[in-house]
Structure formats: C-alpha cells, structure tokens
C-alpha cells in the first residue's frame, strides 16, 4: 500500500483577515499518496495556486495543518521550512523563474550547491538531469538564449536536482506552445513512472488534466470533486 506523502488537513487560507477578508481556501482535506500524478483544477480564483503554495510551504495556512512525508511543515520555523523545501520539494513555476545570470547547467546545479554536494558529483548529476530533459546541447546557454519550452525543461531539471519526493508545478504549461507542453508532460510522466516522484499540478490546461491519474477540482476554495482517471 502506498504511503501518504501530502496530508493537507482542514486547511484554510484567508487573505486580508482584518480588512476585506478573502477566503481563498476553506476547510480543505487532501491526501496525496507517494507516486501520484495529480492535477489540481478549477476556475481562476478557485484557490488552486494558494492550496499548492500551502502544500509546498510557501504560504502559511490561516487554519489547519500540512504534513509532508510525516513532517508537519506548518509547525516549522522559517529557516527550517526553507531547508525542508530544499531537500524535499521541487518547484516548477508558470513563468519558468530561472536565474537569468546563470547558465542551464548552473541553474540546475544551484540547488545542489545549496545542499553542499561535491563538485564532481554535482556536475555528473546536472549533466544526467539535462540529458533526461533533452537539453544536453544547451548546458552553457543562459535562460535568455533558450525558448520557453527549453527554459521550462531546465526548471524541471532544477526541480529534480535534489531528488525530491514531490514536485509542485503551478501552471507549468501555461506559457508553452503545444509541442513544448507535450514534450514537458512526457518527461514528467516518465519521471513519475520510473522514479516514483509525486507530481502535483495546478492547471487549466486540458493536456495536463488528460495526463493526470487523479483530478481534484476546486471551486470557491473548496474541493468540488476528487476523481481517479485513466490518463490518455
């Protein structure tokens, strides 16, 4: 039986609680098991990015708790939380968010450097990751010299660098053309299958939703449906 990797328990998030309260997420219970490939869907303003951020420890819930791999991250201090993210969670953002002054190789290696991995080992892993995402010929290119799809693949390689158990991706295909999006999804699906990495996407993109094995739909900050499906 698969182990629960993310347990969001009765999680709520209210913005501007003292002025004009906005209840972005309300009493949400979500359990995600190791190796799942989950799409978090819903209309704009439904709270999917907020929920994703709370599950990744980027946002603090107003109420409830988030437990990742047995660690209640809502109880961690700021620095411990940053360290926890560094070792356990990979992030892929909508607008790639690479470090513009570093090459593809350096961007991927950055996380490993923060983990103090020895140089030789680090370089080997970076090359392996960039090969996995099909960018072995772009290792010395800076983000500005890469296409959107290539940048997002570097971001995926960076997210994978620390061998995280979970990758959280916020609208990862939103800025990509169809071909790049399909290519990226294939890479992610392969990693999910072969390395048992848990993927959680917030998305509107039907291409992503079709690839997911589980689709959680949020409406007005609440879970409207949570269904398993056979990916196409």
């Amino acid at each position: 039986m698969a182990q629960t990797i993310i347990d969001a328990h009765n999680v709520s998030k209210t913005f501007n609680p003292k002025t004009v309260p906005v209840h972005a997420v309300q009493n949400v219970h979500v359990h995600i098991e190791e190796g799942e490939f989950v799409a978090l869907v819903g209309p704009s303003g439904s709270g999917k990015s907020t929920l994703l951020n709370m599950m990744g420890g980027l946002d603090e819930p107003t109420a409830g708790s988030v437990i990742i791999d047995g660690v209640e991250i809502t109880e961690l201090s700021e620095n411990k939380l940053i360290d926890f993210r560094l070792h356990n969670i990979g992030f892929v953002f909508q607008s790639f968010n690479l470090i513009p002054v570093l090459t593809a190789k350096e961007n991927v290696g950055f996380v490993l450097q923060l983990q103090h991995m020895p140089k030789a080992e680090r370089e080997k892993r970076v090359l392996t990751l960039l090969e996995e995402v099909g960018l072995e010929d772009k290792i010395n290119s800076k983000p500005g010299e890469l296409s959107g799809g290539q940048q997002q693949r570097v971001a995926v390689a960076r997210a994978l660098a620390s061998k995280p158990k979970i990758i959280l991706a916020d609208e990862p295909t939103a800025n990509l053309d169809s071909k790049s999006a399909a290519n990226l999804l294939d890479i992610m699906a392969k990693l999910n299958k072969e390395e048992k990495i848990t993927f959680l996407f917030s998305t509107h993109d039907q291409r992503v939703i079709k690839k997911a094995r589980r689709v959680i739909t949020l409406v007005d900050g609440k879970v409207a449906s949570d269904v398993q499906q056979i990916p196409s």
Binding site: N53, D59, N79, D83, R85, F91, P100, V101, F110, L114
Partner: protein
C-alpha cells in the same frame, strides 16, 4: 555560487551599475582633490611659517617673550652656535637680536619688530634673500642698511634708498633713535608679517642696544628631519640649560590647530560626499531589488535562506563599491601627484590669499593615512548602503513575490 551570482547581477543592467560606479569614482576623486587642495594650502602656510618665520625650534631667555625686552639674552651665543652647527641632524642655525620699536618716515610712523640678523646665516634659515623684490640683500656692507617689507614701505611711503628712523629702548631702558637707509624691499608670502618685520645688521643693533657681541635674544634652529625634533630639543637643553626651548607647534599653537582642524575637516568633507553617495547607492540597489522580487521569491522557494539572500544583496553593493573606490582612489592619487608637482596657479587671487598668509601657488598634497581613511569610509558606506535594500529583500514572502508581475 553566491559570489558569482552577485557579481553577474551587477552587470545585468550595465548602464545603471556604471552610473553608480562612476558616481563613486567621482565622489572619491572629489573628496581626495578637495582634501589635498586644502591640505596643500594649509601645508604651504605651515611651511612658510616654519621656514620663513619660526624655524623648527627657537631658544630664548625664559623672560624674553613675556617682557618683550631685548635685555633678556642668551649669553655666549657663538659657542652655543658652534655646538649646534656641529650636530649633523641640524640643517641650519642662526642667532637674532630682537627689539620692538617704531619706524618713522618723513610722512608717517609704524610699530615694528626689529630683527638684528646675521645676513649670511639667514640665507639658509629664513631665506629672506629669495624674497627681495627691490634693491639687494645686505650687499652694501654699510652697517645702517635695512630691509623692509613691501607693504610697510607702501604704508610709510618710502622707496629704496629712503632714509627712515628706528626708535626703540636699549638694555639700559634709554630711548634710542637711529637712522637707517632702505637697502632692500622684500615681499614674502605672508603680507601681514611684511608689514611688521624689519631686518638690520645684527652687529649694529647689538651696539645700539648695548648688548655684548656674544649676546642674542633668539637662537633659531632648522632640523633636517622633523622626526628628530624631540631629540634635538633634548639636545638643546644640554647646550642652553637655562633657555626656554620651544618647537614650532608650541611657538604657534594656531598651526597645530590647523592640523587638528584639518583632520576633522577630512571626516566632515568625506562624510558629506559619502552621505550623498549613500543615497545614490541605496536608490539604485533598491530599484535592483524591487525589479527582481519574483526572482528573489523563487530563490527563497527553491531553498535559498534569507541569510544568503541578505549576503547576496550586500555583496552586489560591496562589489560596486569595490570597483568604484580603487578607480576613484587611483584617479585622485594621480591628480594629486601631478598637481602636486606642477602646482595650481591662483595668482589672480594672490592679494587676497597673501593677506591670509597663503601662497598663490597651491601644491595639493595628502598624507597616506588620509587615503586610508577615505577607503575605509567608502567601504563602510558601501556596507551601510546595502543594508536597507537587503533588508527590503528579507521582507518578501516567497509566494507573494513569485506572483509579482
């Protein structure tokens, strides 16, 4: 890696970084130039005072300066002079007879300080011969020859070869009047002194004052190396045991004050320039932080802790300061070195400058310790300027920062 990212970050917006670096260069250069120019003026003033007026050390009878009476003398001057001349740390030594008095021309009169000098020994001492603008420096061999300042000559309405009368009190408290002929008119770099000091042959003044040939009121010493000043003062105690021995700082405390106030001035000027720079750097770095909010949020999200974010921003500012400061320092040093040799000619303001005792040729100069102070203050400025932008970066919440457009 942080060092590398910080370094590359400053070149993301080359124009902006270059503007800040240029402002640091100009600021440091301006600071050095203003200080060196001021110090050049003051140093010149001090040197003029020491070399033309005071000498490094003066020895008097203990009561002479209080009573201002030429009867208080140093005895056996010749013998003492020989002892000083034999010491190779001493550049030159001369004895003087001094009396306050009144100079009278056919039209007017004025109070003066009469110096009885040995013209040959003063050539290397106060170098008065170099400042003679009309006539000659005691070349007639006549005992009643006199040298007066240009300003005093103008005041008395006398010319070269004019006859004037000096009136003073001799050692027996009798009033003496003696006629002198103006053999030379000098113009030193300190007009106020030119109006007061008149120079006559020592031997003649000794006779008029009824002093013995071996008596004098002042022994003035110029040392070769000013670092030896204290040891030579100690040596002088042995030569003139009952004399009052004073160095130039004791003789003219205002000169010492000039040096002290200049040190304060260094900090004030540097402080003002660096304060202006601080705001420039803060503004630029703040812009740099604010336009990278999303990137900083991403860095926090993927695991860069706030301490490292803080260090990264600090490093960026530090690098900018570190590039600008040495260039500013080098250009400043070059300017001071070149102008220190050629000088800055302010002859159009010579009258005004001379009335305050300043030369119209300014040779900028700055001690090495002042350069060190400027560098130190620049580095502190860089660090202080970085704190606020770095602090602003720490206030970011990663999830909000990532959402920023």
């Amino acid at each position: 890696m942080l060092f590398q990212i910080a370094w590359r970050n400053i070149w993301r917006n080359k124009a902006r970084s270059l503007v800040v670096i240029s402002s640091i260069i100009i600021g440091v250069w301006a600071g050095i130039f203003i200080l060196s120019f001021s110090w050049g003026m003051y140093k010149n003033n001090i040197d003029e005072s020491v070399y033309i007026q005071l000498s490094h050390i003066q020895i008097h009878h203990p009561t002479f300066k209080e009573e201002n009476d030429s009867k208080y003398t140093i005895t056996n001057t010749d013998e003492k002079m020989k002892q000083f001349q034999a010491d190779n740390r001493i550049a030159s030594v001369s004895s003087r007879v001094i009396s306050p008095g009144m100079i009278t021309s056919p039209t007017t009169a004025s109070g003066v300080k009469i110096y009885g000098i040995n013209p040959s020994s003063e050539v290397t001492q106060i170098r008065l011969n170099e400042y003679v603008s009309q006539g000659a420096y005691f070349d007639s061999g006549k005992e009643n020859e006199m040298l007066i300042g240009e300003k005093l000559a103008k005041k008395l309405k006398v010319k070269l070869k004019s006859k004037v009368v000096l009136t003073f009190t001799n050692t027996k408290s009798e009033i003496i009047s003696a006629a002198f002929r103006i053999g030379g008119i000098y113009r030193s770099k300190n007009i106020s002194l030119d109006e007061v000091n008149v120079y006559v042959q020592q031997k003649h003044l000794q006779e008029l004052l009824e002093l013995k040939p071996s008596e004098s009121n002042e022994i003035a010493i110029l040392v070769k190396d000013e670092k030896e000043l204290d040891t030579i003062k100690n040596f002088s105690v042995g030569v003139v045991p009952n004399g009052k021995i004073e160095d130039w700082k004791e003789l003219s405390p205002e000169l010492e004050m000039i040096i002290e106030s200049f040190n304060l001035y260094t900090y004030i000027i540097s402080g003002i320039i660096l304060l202006a720079l601080t705001f420039g750097i803060i503004n630029t770095m703040l812009m740099s932080v604010l336009e990278r909010i999303r990137e900083l949020g991403m860095l926090m999200a993927i695991g860069l802790n706030k301490r490292k974010i803080f260090i990264m921003i600090m490093l960026e500012t530090f690098y900018i300061t570190l590039i600008g400061t040495p260039i500013g320092l080098l250009t400043g040093w070059l300017t001071v070195t070149i102008l220190g040799r050629t000088g800055i000619n302010l002859s159009m303001f010579s009258e005004g400058l001379a009335s305050y005792g300043f030369s119209s040729m300014i040779y900028p100069a700055l001690d090495h310790d002042k350069y060190v102070i400027i560098v130190g203050m620049c580095i502190i400025t860089g660090i202080l300027s970085a704190i606020y932008p770095a602090y602003k970066a720490l206030q970011l919440n990663p999830s909000e920062a990532i959402r920023k457009i």
